[in-house]
Amino acid sequence: MALDDRKSDFTFVGTRPNRPDGLDKVTGRAKFGADISAPGMLHGAVLRSPHAHARIVKIDASKAEAHKDVKAIVTRADFADVPFRPGLEGEFYNVLENVMAGEKALYDGHAVAAVAATSALAARDALKLIEVEYEVLPHVTDVDKAMTPDAPVIREGAADYSVPEGMHPNVVRYHESGHGDVEAGFADADLVIEDSFVTEATHQGYIEPHACLGMLGNDGKGELWCTTQGHWIAQKTCAALLGIETSQLRVTASEIGGGFGGKTTVFIEPVALALSRKANRPVKVVMTRSEVFRATGPTSSASMDVKIGMKKDGTISAAQGVFRLQGGAFPGAPGDMTAMCAFAPYNLNNVKQIGYDVMSNRPKQAAYRAPGAPMGAFAVESVIDELCNKLGLDPVDVRLKNAAHEGTKASYGPTYERIGLVETLEAAKAHPHYAAPLKPGQGRGISCGFWFNHGGETSVSLALSEDGSAQLMVGTPDIGGSRASMALMAAEVLGIAYENIRVTVADTATLGYNDVSHGSRVTYASGLATIKAAKHAVEKLCERAAAKWGIPVDAVKWENGCAVPSGPNAGDFDPMPLADITADMGSTGGPISGHFEATPEGAGVSFGTHIVDAEVDPETGKTSVTRYTVIQDAGKAIHPTYVEGQFQGGAAQGIGWALNEEYVYGEDGRLQNSIFLDYRIPVASDLPMIDTVIVEVPNPGHPFGVRGVGETGIVPPLAAIANAVSNAAGVRMKQLPMSPPRILAALKDNG
């Protein structure tokens, strides 16, 4: 993509206006997934397996069908036949199998049937009338156990081409990469540390449960309203699972109450549509919190071995990691991403990384903010911290010494373009936090983190109105204030006030395809698309002005919201404001709009460095995070307040993951803690203020220099907090979460 028009001085970009949807959000007017109803609407509920692994022998729904309030019941037979393929090639099959179980229930909470009834209570009551006969099978939920020879097989033939021969069928994808000679590198080291680390599965924990309202007729035409990070992927997937044409299903994204990756796929949406098709009425399905925990996509749990060699001066001579990720009963655990990201912050001559994707009897993992990267960073940055401690080296200096920069060969292969890791480390070193004294019982931790970021298919349409205002249609659901950023970027190009631009998240029928709001892509890709669409409109505005003036179009340029002659030779005309051109656009050539439909490829990788102080109560093992600073390269912050918000949110989620959040499974393979009481996300009183430093090293792949900021912020916290806790407690913590029982046990073991 040509970027011949880079911009570095801005009028609107970098300011902090109120978000356009603010009023709706503070008055209760904003419509989220569950906030809608339709005439004649039924309520759906899903029957879920109580077993971690069981053959479904028989489903007898006759009693439920006979109930007067029940209008439809669906099982797997009510969905399309979707072909099975190994690995991730058969993703529609995997999603269908997850949405409604086929021959086997594969985890506690797996959907086996669904009901539509005249009220939510009636639907829930009707579930108890459905009799399912199960043949319970042996199960496995632990990643290491799932790889052992005698582990129960989740699904034969699910492994793709990459898995070496002789591995258990539960290992479904394998990744190996790196360069140099790690053995030679280790031989060259003054100190080599090798250690093993474990992280538990965590949930994205968005506060809004999945909710949707579906209507599908026997003519194959349908409407779906749902809370999602991407309504086009919902459209495509639902159509495939129901055997209808994609374009016949119109999907509207509601306001979304958090996603963090967990709403990038479908769960109840195809079920609501299948029920509706059968009942011939609209069906609303809203998950309970317990269903969200049991049956949507948590992140993977991980078991990892990392070995790093260091010279006395802090130079890393070799690094090697093996990352085993469990992603539930389907292929998709991001072991490959963990491997590729783990050593990415460093300039290494000798590096080797291996990643495994392993199936177990747990729910199908979904993306969670930089999926795979935080776990690897935890293991790698813990070992680096330990090396620094043992060699008596400053942890920021060591990272600076080894930091990747423009021209470095990345651990995953290619050579970096301009990147900002060094700048974040220098900012860390200069930050007052890094020099602040620690109290007794406190420890400080540092970690770097890396994430790729993503571009993705993007469509944007911008239409000017007669009065000179603009309406901008984007296709990426706004999960954190992106409408404000889009309006700022459009204002920057058009030169009209931010307030005069109305941004709408369009439905699937009114805009071309858009990839999901994921991969930190929205401000990058929809932003780039907005800029291009606005420029497209500006070209037309210049054409109209040129025609009015009777001069060639290339003699007109756009400045501060006005067409102006491009030089003294172009003629002497007063600037012509946008509103003067749009006022009579109907008679000067018709409506003026700008469009963008493409796949921006230039997301630009991103790095962050976090500094954390933690205090550990040596008698109880309880940790408090006492100070936290996030430093991250944003490329260019369009709306700095919302960039800070992304940094703070990533840190807070990282604190939860590091200290208290985990999926706890019993011996019976059932999830033990499927409510917020026992799945402990941070509450307001758990956290300090979270300081932020926005570093701006422009991304060469974006006209304004934007790098995505949503995901990188969750990569460093696990390691940074583990390092702080380990330094406070005087014992290396190698398992997350570092719950008080684990810390107290580690302290006891340490004497």
Binding site: D160, R173, H175, E176, P414, H454, G456, G519, E601
Partner: protein, 81 residues
Amino acid sequence: MVEVHLWSGLRSLTGGHHVVEVEAKTTGELLVALVQAHPQLQAPIDAGVSIAINGRVIATGLTEPIPEGSEIYLMQRLRGG
């Protein structure tokens, strides 16, 4: 001709080679040429790959131009959250 660097996990499909030289002007041509050179590479390409051109990761596009002498890395398809 461009040199395409493969991740080491693919060596078993290319007879041990981790650099493959092909003739290609775009990312799409490059994938076709890779399969011509090593038919077993069809499987990883079907499973999803990204291509890094001079350090910039092209996640999915098959029409991206490949300038002569570019540094090319084949990568597993990136996924986000």
